[in-house]
Amino acid sequence: MSKIHVTTTVNGDEVEFLCDPRETVLDVLRDRLGMTGTKEGCGTGDCGACSITLDGRLVCSCLVLGVEAEGREIATVEGIATGEDLHPLQQKFIEYAALQCGICTPGILVATKALLEKNPDPTETEVRYWLAGNLCRCTGYDKIIRAVMDTAADMREAS
């Protein structure tokens, strides 16, 4: 099966890969680029564990083909921290126990970072609906929502 050459940007770095047109960005990230921080929970866009941003827009990487990434900018969980410095959301998630098993955490962090960039002062309801596509089976969401609300407040104060 013929493969297609793709050049794209992941977390600011230019990368190239060959992929089958049936492969998704999720497949490419995990299997071709070795970036396993982005998780697969369902493969059908129902769980949000594979959330990334594509040209700044929050999407499920399982619902984007690898070939569609040509010339685009991808951001994943691996790019959230700056070197050793965690993003305030990452710090707050640890502090608030906003994760138990941690499998949904990369997707939720990518999604909430996108939310706070768009809306620095969301209501609890807005956070809950924004994250409705990120399934978490462990926490009941309580501590996740609190961590996001509190991070947003801290970031507003800091800016």
Partner: protein
């Protein structure tokens, strides 16, 4: 075991809430879960599954698949061990079908290829010729005289004569005279209840990577709740020597009981053996729903008698559990948990384990207990309503306490049910005003908890830090709890303890992370191992000082003379001892290898407010409070997390989650799209109250907390719906069509 030296107050570390040791890994994407493991030259595998609910497998033709470029091997049942018996045979039969496919999604063959796309393509080229057989998926229908027989001879000796061959186990227990008790009652309520199967719904699909050479030596990496169990079962299913298979647990993306079982690991190993290459196998989500353990579905009859003052005079329950095409539905737990919250003179419970053409049920958080609580607590609510009694006062009046003869037989030691009820009664939620259309429900719940085989090792480093190796996979932050307990005993900072989940080659056998046992049993083991290390540290100090070992005690991370008579020496810090340990007797390692048997039972009381839209039948949970006895909360934030998570899963079970089978016996909702677990916008904040009634069987009083939290929500929500809409739902899920139907029936009288 003797628990001298117990401690309930004056903690330095226990009860604080530091960041978890694996926190940074988990928020940066660095943590390696099951599907994140790779090996050079590895192949990818895909499993061929039956599209039939029940069918004889007449022929499997793998030639086309094998001919596809990139395919390196295909396995069927012929590639596994023969001559297995008992549960090992059941597991093998479930992992790879023999001559009959027993449910939609039953594995029949597997393919390994150079890429996952090729493996998937090849799986479609495996030709399986089936002869469909009659099927049954409903528990009541599976017990009926005309039901197709799933497998003759599967019943054990517990089953009374005359029952259908699909009834494979039977439980009966209780005490007193229930008929006499019902005769004493002022009101007897008897009702029938049904619950559908639900899935544990962990977000991480099962995944593993295995190698297995012709020398019979293998390695396996997988996401599991217990890798020693995986080792044992894989060795049996593949005919290996157990010690020759080393299993390492990856990080685990949720389990809730569903990853206590083995599904794909033996398949990956069989393919690895056949191809002589590492084989990675990751389950697609649809396969997770179709072929890994949902919980049992149930059909239940409950009868309870009560006096006008609220005293329960007798209780009786019949619990029929469908657990798929194999024995194992936890009918005895359903029966034994059902009436455990209440001190009853007369009680009788009967359980049936029933086979059907569904996947083999697996444990799910307090297996069997939530369904029982749904039925029993609904009937108690109904009695309270009709007798105009307060639901908490009534439960308090009948509550089990220390000295109560439990419904399942023994006498309770110290337990915390009364304390949870009192705390619920005192909580502002219980008397908060409700809006029109809203109703409040409460329910109690019970789970036994478990100890189990446990081995840990605590090795001190030269700089006085400690490496703690435990064998129970960390599913919700247990590394933090272990480190807190080790820090407490060693008197060193929490950060100085590195906790690792060791592989099967490193420690003795550890039972799976189940039964809410990790903080209890691995915690107890950690404390004892630390005490063992401390004893050795004190010995080194004693030798240095030239005084007897028992003249040295351990305080704040230092050896000190035990009293003025022991001598006058400056405190000797841990790092001073470990720095010279090589020259003073060798490495210092604390151990624990035993089976702790003092897991304390746990009770909870939940309060929930629900709102029902009378025009659409849709229920919203608007306020939720969990009150539960934790014995002693080691890391209170993580205890709260267990309370909240159990409540959320219970809410899903109550309102939306269910296995939906078509007339053809095929599962219709094997995606998260239609297997509807709660999403963030479905839930309110979940308030928690941690009650601490110490467990006499743990040095700090810990009771497991992971499971009890899922027991009360089903009934609590049913009771809230009843209060909000005036209709009682006796079948789960309480879906909008069912509620609307109930409302209509009520209107029509």
């Amino acid at each position: 075991m003797a628990l001298d030296n117990t401690k309930s107050t004056g903690f330095t570390h226990v009860g604080t809430t530091p960041d978890r040791p694996d926190g940074v890994d988990k928020v940066t994407g660095r943590a390696r879960f099951g599907a994140d493991i790779t090996a050079p030259g590895m192949l990818h595998a895909a499993i061929v599954r039956s599209p039939h609910a029940h069918a004889r497998i007449k022929r499997i033709d793998t030639s086309k698949a094998e001919a596809l470029a990139g395919v390196k091997g295909v396995v069927t049942r012929a590639d596994f061990a023969t001559g297995l018996t008992g549960e090992n045979w059941n597991i093998l039969e479930n992992v790879m079908a023999g001559d009959t496919a027993l449910y939609d999604g039953h594995a029949v063959a597997a393919v390994a290829a150079t890429s996952s796309l090729i493996a998937r393509d090849a799986a479609k080229l495996v030709v399986v010729e089936y002869e469909p057989l009659p099927h049954v998926t409903d528990v009541d229908k599976a017990m009926a005289a005309d039901a197709p027989v799933i497998r003759e001879g599967a019943a054990d000796t517990s089953v009374p004569k005359g029952l259908h061959p699909n009834v494979v186990r039977y439980h009966e227990s209780g005490h007193g005279d229930v008929e006499a008790g019902f005769a004493e009652a002022d009101l007897v309520v008897e009702d029938h209840f049904k619950t559908e199967a639900t899935h544990q719904g962990y977000i991480e699909p099962h995944a593993c990577l295995g190698t297995l050479g012709g020398d019979g030596k293998g390695e396996l990496w997988c996401c599991t709740q217990g890798h020693w169990n995986v080792q044992k079962i894989c060795a049996a299913l593949l005919g290996l020597e157990t010690a020759n298979l080393r299993v390492t647990a990856s990080e685990i993306g949720g389990g809730f009981g569903g990853k206590t079982a083995v599904f794909i690991e033996p398949v990956a190993l069989a393919l690895a053996r056949k191809t002589n290459k590492p084989v990675k196998l990751v389950m697609p989500r649809a396969d997770v729903f179709k072929a890994t353990g949902p919980t049992a579905s149930t059909s239940m009859d409950i009868k309870i008698g009560m006096k006008k003052d609220g005293t329960i005079t007798a209780a009786q329950g019949t619990f029929r559990l469908q657990g798929g095409a194999f024995p194992g539905a936890p009918c005895e737990f359903t029966a034994m948990c059902a009436f455990a919250p209440y001190a009853l003179k007369n009680v009788r419970q009967v359980g049936y384990d029933v086979m059907s053409n569904r996947p083999k049920q697996a444990a799910y958080r307090a297996p069997g207990s939530p369904m029982a609580a749904f039925a029993v607590e609904s009937v108690i609510d109904e009695l309270c309503n009709r007798l105009d009694l307060d639901p908490i006062e009534t439960r308090l009046k009948n509550a089990s306490k220390k000295g109560t003869k439990a419904s399942f037989g023994p006498t309770f030691d110290r337990i915390g049910l009364v304390e949870t009820l009192e705390a619920a009664k005192a909580h502002p939620h219980y008397c908060a005003p409700l809006k029109p259309g809203q109703g409040r429900g409460i329910s109690c719940g019970f789970w036994f908890n478990h100890g189990g085989e446990t081995a840990v090792s605590l090795a001190l480093s030269e700089d006085g830090t400690a490496q703690l190796a435990v064998g129970t996979p960390d599913i919700g932050g247990s590394r933090a709890s272990m480190a807190l307990m080790a820090a407490e005993e060693l008197g060193i900072p929490y950060e100085n303890i590195r906790v690792t989940i060791a592989d099967t080659a490193t420690l003795g056998y550890n039972e799976v992370s189940h039964g809410s046992r990790v903080t209890y049993a691995s915690g107890l083991a950690t404390i004892q191992a630390a005490r063992d290390a401390v004893k050795k540290l004190c010995g080194r100090a004693a030798a240095k000082w030239g005084i007897p070992e028992d003249a040295v005690k351990w305080e704040n991370g230092c050896a000190v003379p035990s009293g003025p008579n022991a001598g006058d020496f400056d405190p000797l810090p841990i790092a001073e001892i470990t720095k010279r340990m090589g020259a003073t007797g060798g490495p210092i390692v604390g151990h624990f290898e035993a089976t702790p048997e003092g897991a304390g039972v746990s009770f909870a009381t939940h309060i929930v407010d629900a709102e029902v839209d009378p025009e659409t039948g849709k229920t919203s949970v608007v306020r939720y409070t969990v009150v539960q006895d934790a014995g002693k909360a080691i890391h209170p934030t993580y205890v709260e997390g267990q309370f909240q998570g159990g409540a959320a899963q219970g809410i899903g079970w109550a309102l939306n989650e269910e296995y939906i089978y078509g007339e053809d016996g095929r599962l219709q909702n094997a995606l998260f799209l239609d297997y509807r677990i709660p999403v963030a916008s479905d839930l309110p904040m979940i308030d928690t109250v941690i009650v601490e009634v110490p467990n006499p069987g743990h040095p700090y009083g810990v009771r497991g907390v992971g499971e009890t939290s899922i027991c009360p929500p089903l009934a609590a929500i049913a009771n809230a719906v009843s209060a909000a809409a005036g209709v009682r739902l006796r079948q789960l899920p309480m879906s909008p069509p069912r509620i609307l139907e109930a409302l209509e029936q009520q209107r029509n009288g």
